[in-house]
Every structure is written in C-alpha cells, then in structure tokens.
Symmetry: C2
Subunit: 130 residues, 2 copies
C-alpha cells in the first residue's frame, strides 16, 4: 500500500478526458493481461487499497476489478513510463482477467487468415526485420 499517493499522482499525465492508460501484467507468468483506464480518483484508490480499480468509460463508473466476478487483481508493483501517460501494474490475478473467460484479454493473434484465437505465428523470427 502507498501511504501518501499525492506525490505519485502529481507526476501522472492524465489526458483531456482525465484518464491514464493502465497496462496489467501477470506477476507470476509475465503475461500481459489487459489494458484499461484510470482517473485520478481510481488511481489513488488502487494505490491506497492495493486492489486494481479502474474508471469504466462505457458505464461511467468506478470499477473495482473482480467486485462482481471475483476475479480480483492484487497489486504487486506499479511503474510509470518516461512521459507519465502510461502505468504498468504487476498483479496477482485471481481467475481470468478477461470477461470472455480467457486468462488474458489478448487472446487473438494476428495471422494471414485474420485474428485467430490460437493462430500460427504471424511473423517468422527468421524473416522478421532484425
């Protein structure tokens, strides 16, 4: 928990809608789980409580992750990028992060046949630009 998040909040660059991007990474597997948005209030709540708490743009309300589904996210560390407009959270994910039931929201992979849930590698490491 962060005792006094104000010193942290001062360095975050919220956009014109008052939001900052929150990237969420699984602390055990390093898998990127999801991206959502926080406003100043829900970022402060996240820092104080250690529970990932977003601002839902579609529902226009505070969204404590897992409050209804049980699929909570416990914060392990928080990082801010160089220009202050993106946050990286490492979390312990309970259940799946995605409302579809997948562990990660990034379950679709690019292939020459479109987006595939278990698509082949779209890029051959030997052919990709080195």
């Amino acid at each position: 928990m962060i005792d006094a998040p104000d010193a942290l909040l001062d360095h975050v660059q919220f956009d014109d809608d008052g939001l900052v991007a929150a990237i969420v990474q699984d602390d055990e597997t390093d898998e990127v789980l999801m991206m959502a948005f926080m406003n100043e209030n829900t970022l402060a709540l996240t820092l104080k409580t250690g529970r990932m708490t977003y601002w839902s743009r579609s529902r226009e309300e505070v969204w404590v992750k897992g409050a209804t589904s049980g699929n909570t996210q416990a914060v392990r560390s928080v990082r801010l990028d160089c220009d202050g407009d993106a946050l990286l959270f490492r979390v312990t994910q309970k259940g799946g992060a995605c409302h579809t039931g997948h562990h990660s929201c990034f379950f679709r992979r690019a292939s020459n046949d479109g987006w595939q849930e278990d698509g082949e590698m779209a890029f051959d490491p030997d052919e990709a630009y080195g």
Copy 2:
C-alpha cells in the same frame, strides 16, 4: 509479415482521434517496454514490414521506431484485445526502447518516497489484497 492486413484492420477499434494503443513487450525477457499509438496507416505499415511504426501525436508524423536512433523493434507477434482497442506486440528490441536510454520506458517504480528509478517494492506481496 502479413500479406493482406485489411482483414486484421477491420477488427481494430480506433478512437475518435483515429488511434489505437500499442503495448510493446520484449520477446526475449517478457519485459513491457513501452506504449505508443498507431493510426490505421502506421498499423498497416507495421503489419506489412514487421518494423514497429507509430504515429507520433506530438510531432504529428509517422515514426518508424529506431529510424534515427538505430533502436529498432522487429515484430515477432501481434495480439488484439477482446474489445479491439489495444494491441500487444512482442518484439526483438535493439538497444533500448526508451529515449532516456533505459531498456524500458517503465523505469520508475512507485514507493512511499515517490517514483524511484530503483525503488523498493511498494507493495508487500504478503500485505497486498489477496
């Protein structure tokens, strides 16, 4: 490389400014390196060339990562999230991803003393919400 990216582009939800968030993860270390934005044109270029190519909001121009610095990013895989408004790229990063010289743009960590480049763990895993 993707031969015909149109089938992929059709599923991407660009925002009111015509942009989509691109999260970039190091394919060797799983470290999250940066987040930037792409428009439809630079996403198509990225898919076709296998070189990470962004839209610079500040400079309002196409930004081929590493074109001036040499710190290129070769695409290894591309994933789309469930609601289509965020992309996850795994890349082979040459040099550092950050213009500050750090390997990752997320080099500042939250602590009770503010953002620290090598800060202590802000969250004690034993104390964090389970």
